[in-house]
Symmetry: C2
Subunit: 443 residues, 2 copies
């Protein structure tokens, strides 16, 4: 697609280009404009139909948006900005540098400006910040026929028309009715009779993670958002919720990989930026690991007497780390999806203890036998076997308990993922190891 467009531009076949663009989907168009040089991108963008242009614009990367705003004339910009859905316009404004915001605000309609200001006042990551203020509202005494008329009137500018919200004169949410309900009813039916009165709703200050969980549970395409006085102020649509799900998942992956969360994409992030999001964790974990090293200096006598003991250190550390991260991964995921609650802590711990016993015994026996055969040294085999069992027990317990404790303390459980747990388990493993060795082998 991109190649064809470049060819049209090179040959100055703008009429053909315009025809070709009309057949493309908005998502593809925005991707192509993202990849073209700014001037060519602006050229393509100007050939789009007005109502399509705003949709394509809202899907572009913010860098491309910034370049386009610089290139476009005021009246062109005006058309775009005022055709954006209010939530997309608010996102745009919160992402642009101050000078761009000034240019945008100068070209905005009073109504759109009011809507945007409304959205910008909600805290980041709240339901209010991801909702849109444009939706179809109906009254209880309307008929199905009148409702369709209202949908035709306001529907062109709203993000979804398929779920309509029924409000009273004080804008309190009274019920919800879908276009499916409307289509399957008679024209003269009253909204009051066909609307669903059990409305699952969100509040403006709900956390976006909870919003995503609610959508997940109920499979809605859109949900209403009410303020503290229970008045309908906006709706959230499924496409924005999917973005939230991706954001939250990415954040968990990053925390669990020992990174500070970074909203920019990998390829777009600068080397300095990537380093900045890694170095603090690395420094912190490195300095923590020196404590583990300090433990070793206490047992110099032991490994000077039996140097073989040193060679098991990596295996014990890795096995402990891996056992711990297995448990923490499942617990962190369970807490994130809502399947596990902090009140399940004892149930989970007891589960991990039993799993640890099974895994620990198998690993301990396998390794014990290997060592007994390879080194013909039963004492070392027993020391290693016992150590592994205890290390797995402690690692799985910590992998279960630390994320739960974090959640209880209001921290993100993903902080307690493998990097941190590995460091803690390492220190404990070595303590256990040398104490058992000293005890059994009378070093």
């Amino acid at each position: 697609m991109k190649e064809k467009i470049i060819a049209f531009i090179a040959n100055k076949q703008f009429a053909q280009l315009k025809g070709y663009l009309q057949a493309l989907n908005q998502a593809d168009l925005s991707e192509i404009i993202d990849e073209l040089p700014p001037e060519d991108g602006a050229l393509v963008f100007r050939l789009l139909d007005k109502d399509e242009a705003a949709d394509v614009f809202s899907r572009m990367e913010s860098e491309t948006q910034e370049k386009l705003i610089n290139i476009l004339k005021d009246n062109e910009l005006k058309d775009i900005i005022n055709n954006l859905y209010a939530d997309d316009a608010a996102d745009l404004i919160s992402e642009m540098p101050a000078i761009m915001v000034k240019k945008i605000l100068a070209n905005i309609d009073p109504q759109q400006r009011k809507d945007i200001n409304e959205l910008l006042k909600y805290p980041e990551d709240s339901a209010g910040s991801i909702m849109t203020t444009e939706f179809v509202d109906l009254k209880m005494d309307m008929t199905v026929k009148e409702s369709f008329e209202r949908i035709r009137k306001v529907g062109r500018d709203t993000e979804t028309i398929y779920t309509c919200y029924v409000i009273d004169n004080a804008r309190h949410l009274m019920g919800v009715v879908t276009v499916k309900d409307l289509l399957l009813s008679q024209y003269e039916d009253k909204i009051a009779d066909i609307m669903e009165t059990t409305v699952i709703k969100l509040h403006t200050l709900d956390d976006q993670e909870d919003v995503a969980k609610t959508f997940d549970k109920y499979d809605f395409l859109a949900m209403p958002v009410v303020d503290q006085e229970e008045r309908l102020v906006g709706i959230i649509t499924i496409d924005d919720v999917i973005d939230v799900m991706h954001e939250e998942t990415a954040e968990d992956f990053e925390l669990m990989g020992g990174l500070q969360p970074n909203e920019d994409s990998y390829l777009k992030s600068s080397v300095w930026d990537l380093a900045k999001h890694r170095i603090l964790w690395l420094l912190f974990l490195m300095l923590s690991a020196t404590f583990t090293g300090a433990i070793l200096t206490h047992y110099e006598e032991a490994f000077s007497a039996i140097p073989l003991l040193v060679s098991f250190i990596p295996m014990l550390m890795d096995t402990g780390g891996n056992s711990g991260s297995q448990a923490s991964t499942l617990i962190i995921r369970g807490l994130a999806t809502g399947e596990i609650e902090t009140r399940d802590v004892l149930k989970c711990w007891w589960k991990e203890i039993r799993v640890a016993l099974i895994c620990g015994v198998i690993l301990g026996v396998v390794n014990g036998i290997r060592i007994a055969i390879q080194y013909q040294n039963i004492a070392v085999a027993v020391v290693i076997g016992l150590t592994i069992l205890l290390v797995v027990l402690i690692a799985k317990s910590l992998g279960c308990l630390l994320p739960m404790a974090a959640k209880k303390l209001g921290l993100d459980p993903a902080l307690m993922a493998s990097p941190l747990i590995t460091t803690i388990v390492d220190a404990l493993s070595l303590l256990i190891y040398f104490n058992i060795a000293v005890f059994i082998m009378h070093i």
Copy 2:
């Protein structure tokens, strides 16, 4: 809600219970029935309206479904099964034990049976296996008015009515039209004139992960699925795609945490099952780590001469592991979301090398200074500083290259996550460490 229902049952207030149930949402109802004792659950279930019952049933956990099928009479079961959407019915059949499947199939309508068989023939995780065969199809020569009539006729039994698909007589997909388009058009307009002819479609054998990516890109609520002859055979709706997204994310988390993927939830999984999904990785990684240990035995002389060297082993291993998993987490995520392609390998590697240089120099210098001050030993400080720099370089390179190589070989990149990379980096770290030590300190 659950408490109220239990109270109604205890007091045998079934009329009130029925009224109360009508006000509840299906997702809540299925959750409550999941938690009630089977007999009470069946009692509640029988009080539901017929058209609601199938929806509630499809949302229950499969254990509850199994118990209910056992309790329900044949004619009751018949109503449920035939009111399920075909894709939910197919899921049910593929999850139930053979004896239940027999009971289900005995109570199924011929049309529903045909639909289910159609769906069951597609490979697991393909677009065909998650699509549904029930949708609204229109013809090009229909008017908007006729289309609404068709929607009213077939709409009650289809999962979504909001996207309608236009087909010719051979069932080839000719276009797509949304209810929004229909509502904003005149009654006498022809479908051929208002339909969108650029249809983004899926093929029955597309991988479900690619399906999810396509939905993500285009923000559709439903997409058409065509067979190899480009005939429309089904549609996929956004709610099923969200389930796929969760499944794929869960799988990545599990692989990256060193677990074999397990579709059951944590709390529902037995201890044996949990242990089974962990032990293979643990065993494999433990035995791999013994190679690292074997490396250490080669350098007994070195650490017998300078026992202090042993105390830095944990810190070097952890720093290497963490550096590697930072890189692999970002690369694996990028590959999963489609942001990074295997052809970006050199670009990514060069990025990681520069990030590694920044992080490695900072970590090496900080640690070198600490050691120089703490132990008054410049030689050791230099050895550790240099080792850290090299270890971080190698760890980040492997963290970048291994997932990409896995992808290129058709393996899941998430296999190359921290557990495996840590093990490999550990062995390399110690080799580097002792070689540098021997060289600089002339041991």
